[in-house]
Structure formats: structure tokens, C-alpha cells
């Protein structure tokens, strides 16, 4: 995977090795996780033979499946909303000269980052109760959308800040239409930032435990909450099996997106 040619002028010695280490670092715990999901006994530490029993158990467990579905739906919807809102805000704050108090708006967008999770959790629960909001899974989606906004916003804003506004000015001269410029120039140039932001928002939502636990109404258990319950005694291969299945799904999703990209 790591291949660099010394002829490439941008190449920096050692960076490819650090990148390799970076990925090893990210994946080392997961390798262990996957291996022990096939363990024959309850232990998640000592290898005692190959077995698929934990997968059978995980697949026959309705609770796990509904928790996983809840999590995926919440993450997908919150990512969509937060990324769209963050992109709009980033473009407006980065390009529209008529907006005043940009620093204040920027600070406001980062607000959800600055509050410890448990406080957000308690405050949101109190607030939802006060306004009598009871939309089941919708409550969680609202809470997630809010705290995902800064995670989506920052990469997009970082990308936009580096983009040369003159490109857009030139486009405005050519097309003389704000919307066309946005569609043909700004958004495509922003795409890597939007992509990064959306991915951050997604994983943040997928992993959230404290806020979800507080805000969730009856019947909307998510995967982190469910898994937390299983971890009480210690990680069992069943947890590993569920996690491995999720990893599998994500790998398939990545492969599919690659495939679609190639077809285009």
C-alpha cells in the first residue's frame, strides 16, 4: 500500500512509514477483536479454538439487531442534517460579505463542542421535557444533529478558508449567477471538506452513549447502550461478533462506494 517514488517532488522521507504506523495503530485493537469473535469459549482473552457460535448467537438476538438498526438510522439522518446545515453555514460565513458578527456566529457553531457530554445530556432531557417534545427516536436525532454540527463544520470551514475566492469571482463573471457558481464551482471544490465533515459527524453519532442514554425514550435503545450492558462483566466474544459484523458492513459500504466511483 505504501509506495512512494523519490521522483515525486512532494514526497517527504519517513511520512509513508508514519502513515503505515498510523493505520497499524488504528487497526491493532480491531484485529484482536475480530480474532476473538471466533473463539470457542466465553473468554475474550485466551484463544481456545475456532467457533462460529457467537455469530449464531448475535444473529438470533433481536435486541442487538434492533439496537444496530436504531443506531444506523440515527447516525445517517443526523449526519445528513448536520452536514447540510454546516455546509450552508460555512459557505455563508466564508463568502457572504454582508453578514455581520461572523466571529459570534462561528463561536456559536462550536458551542456544542464546549459542553461536557453529561451536561448536554441532562440539559437536553430537561429541555425536551419542558417543551413536551416526545418524538421517540426523533428526540435522539435532534440531539445528535446539534452536537454533530461543529464536527461537520470545522473541516468544511478549514477547506473553504484555503480556497481561492478569485475562482468563484471569475465564475460569477462568466455565469453571473450565484446558484450556478455555487453548484459548479464552490460545492465541487468544497467536496473533500464536506466528505470529511460528514464522516466525522457519522462516527460521532454512531458512538455516542451518554447523551443518547439520557435523551432516549422507551424503546429506542441504540447499539452503544446495548453494548455497554454486555460489557458489564467484561467483553465477551458475542460483543466482538456484533462489532465484527458492523465492521464487515462498513467495509462492504466502502468497497461499494469505490465500485460506484470507478463506474462513474
Amino acid at each position: 500500500m505504501i509506495r512512494s517514488s523519490d521522483r515525486d517532488i512532494r514526497w517527504l522521507p519517513g511520512f509513508n512509514w508514519i502513515t503505515l504506523c498510523f493505520f497499524l495503530f488504528l487497526y491493532l485493537p480491531l484485529i484482536i477483536l475480530v480474532i476473538f469473535s471466533f473463539n470457542a469459549t466465553r473468554s475474550a482473552t485466551v484463544w481456545e479454538g475456532f467457533s462460529l457460535q457467537w455469530y449464531a448467537k448475535a444473529f438470533s438476538n433481536d435486541d442487538i439487531q434492533s439496537a444496530a438498526k436504531n443506531s444506523l438510522i440515527i447516525a445517517a439522518v443526523s449526519t445528513l442534517f448536520s452536514t447540510v446545515f454546516a455546509t450552508m453555514a460555512a459557505i455563508a460565513l466564508g463568502r457572504n460579505r454582508e453578514i455581520k458578527h461572523k466571529t459570534a456566529f462561528g463561536g456559536l457553531l462550536l458551542l456544542p463542542l464546549m459542553i461536557p457530554e453529561i451536561v448536554t445530556a441532562v440539559a437536553t432531557l430537561t429541555f425536551f421535557t419542558a417543551i413536551n417534545l416526545s418524538w421517540g427516536i426523533g428526540n435522539i436525532i435532534i440531539a445528535h444533529t446539534v452536537f454533530c454540527i461543529p464536527f461537520a463544520y470545522l473541516p468544511i470551514q478549514a477547506r473553504l478558508r484555503g480556497l481561492d475566492a478569485s475562482l468563484e469571482t471569475a465564475a460569477r463573471d462568466l455565469y453571473s449567477d450565484r446558484k450556478t457558481t455555487l453548484r459548479l464551482i464552490t460545492l465541487p471544490l468544497l467536496a473533500p471538506g464536506i466528505f470529511s465533515g460528514a464522516m466525522l459527524a457519522f462516527i460521532i453519532s454512531l458512538d455516542d452513549f451518554i447523551i443518547t442514554m439520557m435523551v432516549a425514550e422507551a424503546g429506542s435503545t441504540t447499539l452503544p447502550i446495548y453494548i455497554y450492558g454486555l460489557v458489564r462483566t467484561g467483553v465477551t466474544p458475542e460483543v466482538n461478533a456484533v462489532s465484527t459484523v458492523l465492521l464487515g458492513i462498513s467495509v462492504i459500504a466502502v468497497l461499494m462506494s469505490q465500485w460506484f466511483a470507478k463506474k462513474q
Binding site: 433481536d62 416526545s134 460489557v231 467484561g234
Partner: protein, 345 residues
């Protein structure tokens, strides 16, 4: 497959902001329990027998339960708080009367858990499980007498640095109080100073303060002594026979988790059905077999697994005092906080 409908509704309501999600259909029951504390087999049996479909949600601490019930919008039919939270829930008006004494099977509740001080006359609650909090020792590492609080608070050389304690201040402090022969919920600074001194002396020998992953740490040998509940100690021993649960003569901390019906429960009748179901010896035994804890229903022993009903962990030796924890006053909680902050600052 009520789930699919619910999520779709949830999605729709999120998108359109129109409808309420969880309709209280007849055949439903929303159960809110501690994590890892509900037998799937039991739920399945209940669903088959009654046709009521059960959803289980979990919480991680009594305070989470309290906060959610206080918020009033949670929509649970059954909750399972620890006994010292029952008076709080009653005085805060968060649970509704079930008049358990009129329910079928009430007379099967064992005498010492019937009409307890936390709910006289069982107006609001019936017992679910009861158990003790003490500690588990690996006898392969330490061969001396384990039934002694010195093993965990003032460990011999071979156990130094091999100790794990729970993460919650109340559970650590109550155990220290039993070891020192002090009352629970003390409002006396001198007594709490003794508790702090004991815990400070113990701290250098503690490897970690953590209430999760107990089994894992004990079985793998990461630690040799772990503050523990008796049920988890039993589960751990099944995987590693050298583990022994301690019953020091000073006594052990005891607790009883209870079934209550929150105010505003959408399916009150189903909740009552569930409570009567749980008073059947056969059913509560399924739950005990799964969790490893004793229950409060006479006759359930007949349905309990071999190795559970006569397990050492579940039968405190004759004469060992069982000290049921209490609901502490704000003043006592404040002192506990100061001890905890001073310990971990």
C-alpha cells in the same frame, strides 16, 4: 416486527415533526432495567405466554433512572431500582401503587423481604433479586483466610497492587464503613475521616477503580482481588475455580432490587401481569439462573440450576450480618463527595 414500524414512524416524525412515536398499543410492555440484568429466556417465555411484546431498555446507575423518571416523559411500564431508591421514588411521587399484597402470588415472597422498611406493606414494589457486595479473591495467589477486610483494605504483600475497586463512591464508601464497623450514611465528620484514612491507605495498592469488566479482570488474572457482587463472583468462579467470594465477620453490604411501576406507565395492566408472572417460582428461577443472584420467591429453588441454589456466594455463613444500604440524607451524600474528591484529587 413492531420495531420496523416504530423506526419508520420515528423517522417520519423526525422528518415531518408531526406524530408522537410510541403509541401505547395493548400488547406492549416497556421494561427499564439495569444493564445486563434481564434474562432473554424469561422475556421470551413471558411473550409466548401472554402475547405481550416486551421492549427492554437499560440504565447504568440509580441516578440515571431517577433523572429519567423525574423528567416524566420516559414512558416505561416497569423499572427495577435498588431498594434504597424506592423511598426516594415514592416521596418524589414517581411511582404508582400496585398494592402487591392483593396480587396473586404475593404470599410467596420470603418473609424477610416481604413488607420491608423501604416499602412497608409492599404498596409500591416487590423484590426482584437480592444480593451482597463484598470482594472476590484469587486463592491461587493468596492462600490465607479471605474472609477478612484486611485482605482488600490492607493487603498482604502478594496482593499489593493487585486490587480493583468499584468506581461508584457510595459502593466503595459503604464497604469501608462495614469494615470499620461504622453506620451507613454517616453525618459525623470524624467517622468519615476514618473512612477517608482507610481508603487513602488502600489507594497505593489499588490497580484500578472500575465497575465494568469485573469478570474479565478476575479471570485473566489482571487483578487478584476485586470488589464484587455475589452474582458476578459466582459467574467468575465458574470460569476460574480458584476465585472465592469473601464473607468477613463484620458483615457484608446487602441490597435488594425491586420491581416498581412508574407513574404514567402507558401499559399499567401489562405491568401488573408481568409482576404476577415474576411471582411464579418457575419464572423468577429462570431469571436467577441467568444472573446468578438469589430472589425473594419461596419455592423457586426447585427450578434453580444445580450449583446455583447451594452456591457459597449465595449463602452467607450463619451469623454474618447482612447490612442493607440506606437512603442517605443530603448532608451524608455531601460528606461522601468530599471523601471521594479528597481520595481521587
Amino acid at each position: 416486527m413492531s420495531f420496523n414500524r416504530k423506526t419508520l414512524l420515528g423517522l417520519a416524525s423526525a422528518g415531518l415533526g408531526l406524530t408522537a412515536t410510541i403509541a401505547s398499543a395493548d400488547g406492549e410492555l416497556q421494561l427499564y432495567n439495569w444493564t445486563d440484568y434481564t434474562s432473554p429466556e424469561l422475556i421470551e417465555k413471558f411473550e409466548t405466554e401472554t402475547g405481550i411484546s416486551v421492549t427492554v431498555d437499560t440504565y447504568d446507575s440509580g441516578e440515571t433512572l431517577l433523572a429519567k423518571l423525574q423528567s416524566g416523559a420516559a414512558g416505561y411500564d416497569i423499572a427495577i431500582p435498588t431498594h434504597n431508591f424506592v423511598p426516594i421514588l415514592i416521596s418524589e411521587g414517581l411511582v404508582q401503587p400496585i398494592n402487591a399484597s392483593e396480587l396473586e402470588g404475593y404470599d410467596r415472597i420470603v418473609p424477610n423481604l416481604a413488607s420491608p422498611w423501604w416499602d412497608e406493606g409492599n404498596v409500591y414494589s416487590i423484590p426482584w433479586h437480592w444480593g451482597t457486595t463484598s470482594f472476590t479473591v484469587d486463592t491461587a495467589v493468596y492462600s490465607g483466610d479471605v474472609d477478612d477486610y484486611d485482605v482488600i483494605f490492607n493487603p498482604p504483600e502478594e496482593l499489593a497492587g493487585q486490587i480493583a475497586m468499584f468506581k461508584s463512591p457510595d459502593e466503595v464508601i459503604t464497604m469501608a464503613q462495614v469494615a470499620l464497623g461504622l453506620p451507613f450514611c454517616s453525618e459525623d465528620p470524624n467517622e468519615m475521616q476514618q473512612v477517608l484514612d482507610l481508603l487513602m491507605g488502600q489507594k497505593p495498592h489499588v490497580k484500578t477503580y472500575n465497575s465494568d469488566g469485573i469478570l474479565e479482570r478476575l479471570v485473566s488474572g489482571d487483578v487478584s482481588v476485586h470488589q464484587n457482587w455475589n452474582g458476578y463472583s459466582l459467574l467468575a468462579r465458574k470460569e476460574k475455580p480458584s476465585l472465592q467470594y469473601a464473607f468477613p465477620e463484620e458483615g457484608v453490604v446487602a441490597w435488594a432490587d425491586s420491581l416498581v411501576v412508574p407513574k404514567g406507565a402507558p401499559n399499567y395492566d401489562n405491568a401488573i401481569t408481568f409482576i404476577e408472572f415474576m411471582l411464579e417460582p418457575e419464572n423468577i428461577a429462570i431469571q436467577s439462573n441467568s444472573s446468578g443472584y438469589a430472589n425473594g420467591v419461596t419455592g423457586s429453588e426447585a427450578f434453580m440450576d444445580e450449583g446455583l441454589k447451594d452456591a457459597a456466594e449465595l449463602s452467607p455463613p450463619e451469623g454474618t450480618p447482612l447490612k442493607f444500604i440506606e437512603s442517605c440524607s443530603p448532608k451524608a451524600v455531601e460528606l461522601q463527595n468530599r471523601v471521594w474528591t479528597a481520595l481521587l484529587k
